[in-house]
């Protein structure tokens, strides 16, 4: 039975009509298929199969564009490599655009022309979403966020219990009955957000940031209902769903009248809220937005927290989350914080804007269909880490933490993986 009917195809093709979109028109037409991007993509490096070349992913989308949106493609498709959008093309698109690209953008920086490959992959995902062809596991993650307000469907009572438990830990650790993790408090300066993996699997990272806020004397709160910084609508290609999820945080900070939306340690969550959020909602935000990394860096610069880096003696290295560094400009800020909090630091090779993705980006961690592929491409990261000799890998992204933890186990790296807040909390000097 045909998967794509005319209605679905037309919806998908509508997304390629680049009438007033110079960026889309440009990147659909710019690739020269030189193939020189192959060696920049971890999927190709790990599998050595032609289908994983970044240009192949671009070509799936641009060949459909040429077929339906250009005169030459309509008259003589074979001459200009124009292809039909049929079932087999759509299935290939699912496999390569969802299952073989983390949208890390490493190939983009190295492309001989400057084609924004990740942007075209995203456009392809939007087309697949319009045809109801999002992998079920990824869609389930989005559906959870739409249904419950967080992508792991954590019930509010469970979340509140976890926060209360962490608050008790904080009180004990600080020896101060006034130490708090404030929930749903209005008129606070900082409205903090979390990756649901934190309350679910890594509650200590919540206590780490709470400790930093305590030391800085910050006036802050978390919402018990809309605290989720992630937005898998950025990955499934459904802009309407991404907009609903982005609006959750937008409305909640207004409801609580917070000053600054602080995006917790999550690469794609930061990207989806900071860079995409206002565009999803089609309005400029009337509150400030920053990341946990930048906020902590400010505390250090302003002397609001004091750090003793000798408390972190082990050799540490940084894994740069693609959405925070290459696609987010936080290269220097992350290093400033890590170097302020760790005594012994070394870089990976390559690192920063050149860094390889951990392999868990682009929604890969949510798509169990591609687990083997994900772990295989992660070997590149595992080898990078091993070569540094570091005992601790710092990364300001809980998705990366999850993937690195699995790589640690699979490739027997024997490392610890920490977020920036955890590293900084361990170096805090609390003046009583």
């Amino acid at each position: 039975m045909q998967k794509i009917d005319k209605v679905k195809r037309d919806k998908a093709l509508e997304l390629l009509k680049s009438g007033s979109d110079s960026k889309l028109l440009t990147h659909l037409n710019a690739c020269v298929r030189c193939g020189l991007c192959a060696g920049s993509c971890m999927f190709y490096i790990a599998h050595k199969q032609s289908k994983f070349i970044p240009a192949k992913k671009v070509d799936l989308v641009s060949s459909v564009y040429r077929r339906y949106c250009t005169s030459m493609g309509k008259i003589a498709p074979a001459l200009v490599n124009a292809k039909d959008l049929d079932d087999s093309m759509a299935e290939e698109m699912v496999d390569l655009l969802f299952g073989s690209c983390t949208m890390c953008g490493r190939c983009v920086k190295h492309c001989s022309i400057g084609v924004d490959i990740a942007y075209i992959v995203r456009k392809g995902r939007e087309m697949l979403s319009a045809m109801d062809m999002v992998p079920a596991s990824l869609q389930a993650t989005v559906d959870s966020a739409l249904r419950t307000g967080n992508n792991m469907a954590i019930p509010t009572e469970e979340f509140v219990d976890t926060i209360k438990w962490m608050e008790e830990e904080l009180i004990d650790e600080m020896g101060d009955n006034n130490a708090r993790i404030p929930l749903d408090e209005p008129h606070k300066n900082v409205f903090y957000t979390l990756n649901p993996r934190e309350p679910k699997f890594f509650p200590l990272s919540i206590s780490a940031i709470a400790k930093i806020f305590y030391a800085a004397g910050e006036n802050w709160t978390i919402s018990s209902r809309f605290y989720d910084v992630t937005n898998y609508g950025f990955f499934n290609g459904n802009k309407e769903q991404a907009t609903v999820i982005a609006r959750n945080l937008y409305d909640e900070i207004h409801k609580l009248r917070g000053n600054v939306l602080v995006l917790g340690e999550c690469g794609h969550g930061t990207r989806a809220n900071r860079w995409e959020g206002p565009n999803y909602l089609q309005k400029s935000y009337d509150f400030d937005m920053t990341t946990a990394v930048e906020l902590i860096a400010d505390y250090i610069r302003q002397g609001r927290i004091k750090l003793d880096k000798t408390l972190n003696k082990e050799l540490v290295t940084i894994h740069d989350p693609c959405n925070l560094v290459r696609n987010g400009g936080l290269l220097e800020e992350i290093r400033f914080v890590v170097k302020s909090a760790a005594d012994n630091f070394t870089e990976m090779n390559p690192h920063g804007n050149e860094n390889y993705c951990c392999g868990g980006g682009g929604g890969m961690l949510a798509m169990s269909e591609y687990n083997d592929r994900r772990l295989k491409i992660g070997e590149i990261k595992a080898n990078q880490i091993r070569a540094t000799g570091a005992k601790v890998v710092i990364t300001p992204c809980h998705n990366c933490v999850d993937q690195l933890s699995q790589l640690n186990h699979t490739y027997k790296l024997g490392i610890k993986i920490k977020t920036i807040a955890e590293l900084v909390a361990d170096a805090l000097v609390i003046e009583k």
Partner: protein, 207 residues
């Protein structure tokens, strides 16, 4: 002017008209709309995109593939030289004396062979072959032929008809095939510079 001159000129007009149309479509929408708050400078990002980010040392597509990169540069220089020479030859420029003709001809034979080598690589390299369609071969052949026939015509005036017909073919294909990157390349660099500049990734401040 003979009929083949007119064919070449008509093809040039066709090419310019199509490129002008594409150019207008790219420019009329204006600067990309972005409602997020920039943390960098678009101007600096775009300048970086056209300068340091293009340096061979900044791109794996260059420094991991030096022979291909060098071949590509020579090939592109040959294409631009052919374009300039088309106008010079059409105008019957008197200063194009014999030594100059020989020099240009040698340069164009070299660039033709660079293009030919790229074509052979496309045919025998399994990865590149899997990426390729008719457009890739046609684009290479029409561009290489212009260089070859320019090189020949500079030395052998009798090749005039073949030369002008090869130029006509080139001009017709230029805005239709992937050769249109002549225009789209500049916009790709602009949009990339905008993207990375807006977010403060470019210009890169440290290693």
């Amino acid at each position: 002017m003979c009929w083949y001159h007119w064919i070449a000129i008509t093809s040039l007009i066709f090419s310019v008209a199509l490129f002008s149309y594409q150019f207008a479509r790219l420019v009329i929408p204006g600067r990309p709309d972005d409602l997020s708050v920039s943390s960098g400078s678009v101007t600096k990002g775009v300048v970086y995109s056209f300068t340091k980010a293009m340096a061979p040392g900044a791109k794996e597509s260059a420094y991991l593939h030096m022979p291909t990169y060098a071949g590509g540069i020579i090939y592109h220089l040959g294409t631009f030289l052919s374009l300039v020479l088309f106008f010079v030859l059409l105008a019957g420029f008197p200063s194009l004396n014999n030594p100059l003709r020989t020099i240009f001809s040698v340069l164009l034979f070299i660039s033709f062979f660079a293009g030919f080598a790229i074509l052979i690589k496309r045919i025998i390299n399994k990865d590149l072959k899997s990426l390729s369609g008719l457009d890739d071969y046609i684009s290479n052949v029409v561009t290489s032929l212009v260089q070859l026939f320019t090189a020949i015509y500079l030395l052998v005036p009798g090749a005039e008809i073949l030369y002008y017909l090869s130029v006509a073919l080139f001009f017709i294909w230029l805005p239709l095939g992937k050769t249109k990157h002549l225009l789209f390349f500049f916009f790709a660099r602009y949009h990339l510079g905008f993207f990375y500049g807006w977010r403060g990734t470019w210009p890169q401040k440290s290693e």
